[in-house]
């Protein structure tokens, strides 16, 4: 509730509200009264004197304080000094233990962070293991060669039966991985045969397909490898199926990770998206 300062005489008003005036805490009415009084020389003088006196008084008051011993006497009111000292020692020890534990945690965190950074650096900057052959270059060449091979001489087993392809591969010696075959790649694509390209250090399974509608061939390869071993390329996504695409003069190449260590690769004249749609069937 605001008090009615009009009941104060002018000198009481000045002396009793001086700090409120300078802190801008007077009401509009009281502020106007104060300013009006300050226009009078006598009140201006008493205002200055009061300000000075309060300052001197406050300064003098700051010189009085309790000694440590006296403060200890106040603590003794609620707790024996010996017990308090013991409790403080225990508290300091407890804080010390927490500090030590915190220090250990901080050191451990730093070590973990350094190890994590080192692992990340090794992972990202160590050159990927090189394949024993240049995948894109070699398989593009193989695809072109098989496309030009009218009689099917480059096929180990010319056949239109996927069952025969499967049997052929199951008895083939020297494959260090299990190829993933497609019974149907959709459209009017039909299998024309299978071959295993032997680079001595790597064996590549290759299936040849043909479309009467497009009158063109399409080649599906499996080899042991990893997507990260290929040059970086634009990532594609067909309904959640992730792949990388490359293009040669007139053919598109779609690559994807078939399984942990096996790569799938399709080369053909169809668009990258069409080839990726065919490739995505291997993952269903």
């Amino acid at each position: 509730m605001t008090i009615d300062l009009s009941k104060l005489s002018d000198s009481e008003f000045i002396a009793g509200t001086v700090e409120d005036f300078y802190a801008d805490q007077l009401s509009t009415k009281d502020l106007a009264r104060y300013k009006k009084l300050l226009e009078q020389e006598s009140f201006k003088e008493s205002n200055d004197d009061i300000k000075e006196t309060i300052g001197q008084f406050q300064l003098a008051g700051q010189g009085f304080y309790l000694t440590e011993q006296q403060l200890g006497g106040l603590h003794d009111i609620v707790e024996d000094s010996e017990i308090r000292r013991t409790r403080e020692v225990q508290r300091i020890e407890q804080i010390g233990r927490w500090e030590a534990l915190g220090d250990f945690r901080r050191r451990l965190s730093i070590v973990v962070l350094i190890v994590a950074i080192a692992v990340a650096v090794i992972y990202y900057f160590t050159p990927s293991k090189k394949l024993p052959f240049n995948v894109l270059e070699s398989l593009s060449y193989e695809a072109l060669a098989m496309e030009d091979d009218i009689g099917g001489a480059r096929l180990d087993l010319p056949t239109k039966s996927m069952l025969e392809v499967t049997e052929f591969l199951s008895v083939y010696n020297g494959l260090t991985y299990e190829p993933t075959l497609l019974n149907s790649i959709g459209g009017d694509w039909t299998v024309e045969g299978v071959t295993v390209i032997d680079y001595e250090s790597a064996k590549i399974v290759a299936l040849q397909y043909f479309s009467k509608e497009y009158s063109e061939k399409l080649f599906y390869f499996n080899y042991q490898g990893n997507l990260s071993e290929l040059p970086r390329a634009t990532l594609g996504n067909v309904d959640g199926f992730l792949y990388q695409t490359y293009a040669s003069d007139d053919m598109n190449i779609v690559c994807w990770q078939l399984s942990d260590k096996v790569m799938g690769l399709i080369i053909g004249h169809r668009s990258a998206v069409e080839l990726a749609t065919i490739a995505s069937r291997t993952m269903k």
Binding site: L5, G16, E52, I54, F57, L66, I77
Partner: protein, 150 residues
């Protein structure tokens, strides 16, 4: 030695007493010394104030620092009001500076200008209205000497 008739404070109350209540001890001492004028007597009053505060600790636990300070000064004022010797000005130089002031005026000007309470808080301490506080504060300030020896 712990005051024998004081109940044992729990750990939370002990920490509060030592940290928050004892943190105001110098302000309480200045008030008691200013009103009473004798250092030894002032310390005795501070101790009595703190014994009372420890007994009433539950009522202080949720207060702000300003509110704790106000309650401590209120206890001191209550004790001083009952102490006829303390109400008389002591022999210290500071007491002489304040010797012209009445007990109420000393209490008000010390609570306001030395302890730093607001007029509203001072009115709570002395249990009187704010206009009275303003009047007595003004009278006390007018009677204060120009210099305090420094």
């Amino acid at each position: 030695m712990t005051e024998s008739n004081l109940r044992k404070l729990n750990e939370n109350e002990l920490f509060f007493y030592e940290d928050r209540v004892c943190g105001e001890a110098d302000a309480v001492y200045r008030f008691c010394f200013g009103v009473g004028g004798d250092p030894a007597k002032a310390y005795e009053l501070v101790k009595m104030t703190y014994k009372n505060a420890a007994e009433e600790i539950a009522g202080l636990l949720n207060l702000s620092t300003e509110e704790i300070r106000t309650e401590l000064i209120k206890i001191s004022y209550r004790l001083l009001s009952k102490d006829k010797i303390a109400k008389k000005s002591g022999s210290s130089l500071f007491a002489k500076y304040l010797s012209k002031l009445s007990f109420e005026q000393k209490s008000i000007v010390l609570a306001k200008d030395i302890v730093g309470l607001t007029v509203k808080q001072v009115s709570h301490v002395i249990d009187n209205d704010e206009l009275f506080v303003r009047k007595e504060l003004a009278a006390a300030r007018i009677q204060l000497p120009d210099s305090f020896g420094h």
